[in-house]
């Protein structure tokens, strides 16, 4: 269970957002510039809110009143970035193993093999990220985030840099992920069609504010303006 109630001012733009998300895939949905990425970065600990609270399960990650701000590296929140951000100097296998090593987790060959199989990335393990296609890169990025055994997985427009064919290639993997792992996810997108397949609940953002919370029916009413 993730509970977010934060305020942040960035120049002219202000975010004041409050929402909660349970298990499953929570979509953060809204047009470009709605503050989705900023919000996700605050959950990950990459930027600090000006005010508010972020609580994951029973852990307070941020509380301005009590001056709590757990640094990103201690939050155990997996993050799949829009551009993958794989480490170019490491092989795919080393990229996948990076989070486990940094978190000091024991080696688990079965879990590793399972994720590799789930995402179908076994043939890529010895390659370097520079030689991967966009779709392969994002699958490895998802695997890398999962293998640190996160308490929450953030996906920020993970398909936005891919063409339509690549999107169709990856979506089934994300659906399997949702159905086979128990990791709750926050999935950022401005694309209703993509979210309709993956999301279990929806938080609509616009202009830095939450303008709707509900099920995937929220995506239908929003289609017109979001895709404009």
């Amino acid at each position: 269970m993730l509970a977010v109630d934060v305020e942040k001012r960035l120049g002219d733009f202000a975010i004041a957002a409050r929402f909660e998300s349970a298990a499953g895939v929570t979509a953060l949905f809204g047009p470009s510039g709605a503050g989705k990425t900023t919000l996700v970065n605050m959950i990950a600990g990459l930027i600090s809110p000006d005010r508010g609270r972020i609580v994951l399960d029973d852990t307070v990650l941020f509380d301005s009143g009590r001056r709590i701000d757990v640094p990103a590296h201690r939050r155990r929140i997996g993050y799949v970035f829009q551009e993958g951000r794989l480490f170019p100097h490491l092989t795919v296998a080393a990229n996948l193993d990076y989070g486990r090593r940094m978190c000091g987790l024991p080696r688990e060959d079965k879990a590793f093999a399972h994720i590799v199989e789930l995402l179908d990335i076994a043939p890529l393990l010895d390659r370097r990220p520079g030689k991967l296609s966009g779709g392969e890169r994002q699958r490895v990025a998802v695997g890398r985030a999962l293998l640190m055994r996160p308490r929450l997985l953030l996906l920020d427009e993970p398909l936005a840099s891919l063409d339509a064919a690549r999107k169709r290639e990856i979506l089934p993997y994300l659906e399997r992920l949702r159905d086979e792992t128990r990791v709750p996810m926050v999935y950022v997108s401005h694309h209703a069609g993509e979210l309709r397949r993956i999301a279990t609940s929806v938080v609509r953002l616009d202009g830095g504010r939450v303008v709707g919370v509900g099920g995937i029916e929220l995506l239908d009413t929003a289609d017109a303006d979001a895709l404009a």
Binding site: A44, G45, L46, P71, A72, H73, R74, R75, R76, I77, G78, Y79, F81, E83, R85, F87, P88, H89, Y98, G99, M102, C103, G104, D126, R127, R128, G130, K131, R144, A145, M148
Partner: protein, 231 residues
């Protein structure tokens, strides 16, 4: 193959030892300063940048003289180090290494700084979300990605240290077997009648070492580059 006399070999070995020690000792400082200049804003940053680059623009004799009055036996820093740690620079090969390190330092810092500035910091954010604290981010992401700059800085500093003459001879003089490097030995041979043959041999050695260093650095840089783009 070069048919050097024992004294000439001593000068060659001494030069290599001075240049290698100077460069290796300077490297951690070079990385730290490059990182500070690339990543941090602090009071006196411009001054620090200027002081580091000073040996590049000052006449080497001036740098050598400044070293002499500060790190010499009676200099404030030199006296302190000699009394408390037993480290003596004046008229020792260690002094030559110090002079070479300071002369090579700006050449080492610049490429490392540029390499650190060129790193995509979003990769460091990604490492943080994967559980790496700041030290591990630096060691596993920043430093490896700056490797080509590190190699360039190392080689430039080494090259400068190998050829350094003015600051070294001013600071620690030209003592055979202690501070007489290849450059100083060549200079000495050209000052005495009949020294041409010896000077010529050392010139060949200097060319050979420099070429070897260039080839090795090129090979290393290519390997480092390949790691990012190739298999």
């Amino acid at each position: 193959m070069f048919d050097l006399s024992p004294d000439e070999w001593i000068a060659v070995r001494l030069s290599l030892r001075i240049a290698i020690v100077a460069t290796i000792v300077a490297l951690p400082f070079g990385i730290a300063v490059a990182w500070l200049l690339a990543r941090r804003d602090f009071w006196g940053k411009t001054l620090l940048d200027g002081v580091i680059h000073l040996p590049l623009v000052l006449p080497p004799v001036v740098t050598g003289y400044l070293l002499l009055i500060s790190f010499g036996r009676r200099g404030p820093i030199g006296a302190f180090l000699a009394d408390h740690f037993g480290i003596v620079f004046s008229f020792r090969w260690t002094g030559a290494a110090l002079a070479c390190a300071i002369m090579g330092f700006p050449l080492m810092v610049r490429p490392i700084r540029l390499a650190i500035e060129a790193i995509d910091r979003r990769l460091e954010d990604a490492a943080a979300t994967l559980g790496a604290d700041r030290l591990w981010v630096f060691l596993t992401v920043t430093l490896p990605l700056a490797l080509p700059g590190l190699i360039a800085g190392f080689v430039l500093c080494f090259a400068k240290a190998l050829g350094e003459f003015g600051a070294t001879i001013t600071f620690v003089s030209n003592i055979p077997g202690e501070t007489q490097t290849i450059s100083a030995a060549i200079y000495t041979f050209t000052q005495i009648p009949g020294g041409d043959a010896a000077a010529g041999r050392l010139v060949l050695v200097a060319i050979a070492i420099s070429l070897a260093a260039l080839v090795v650095s090129e090979w290393l840089a290519r390997r480092a580059g390949m790691r990012f783009h190739g298999e």
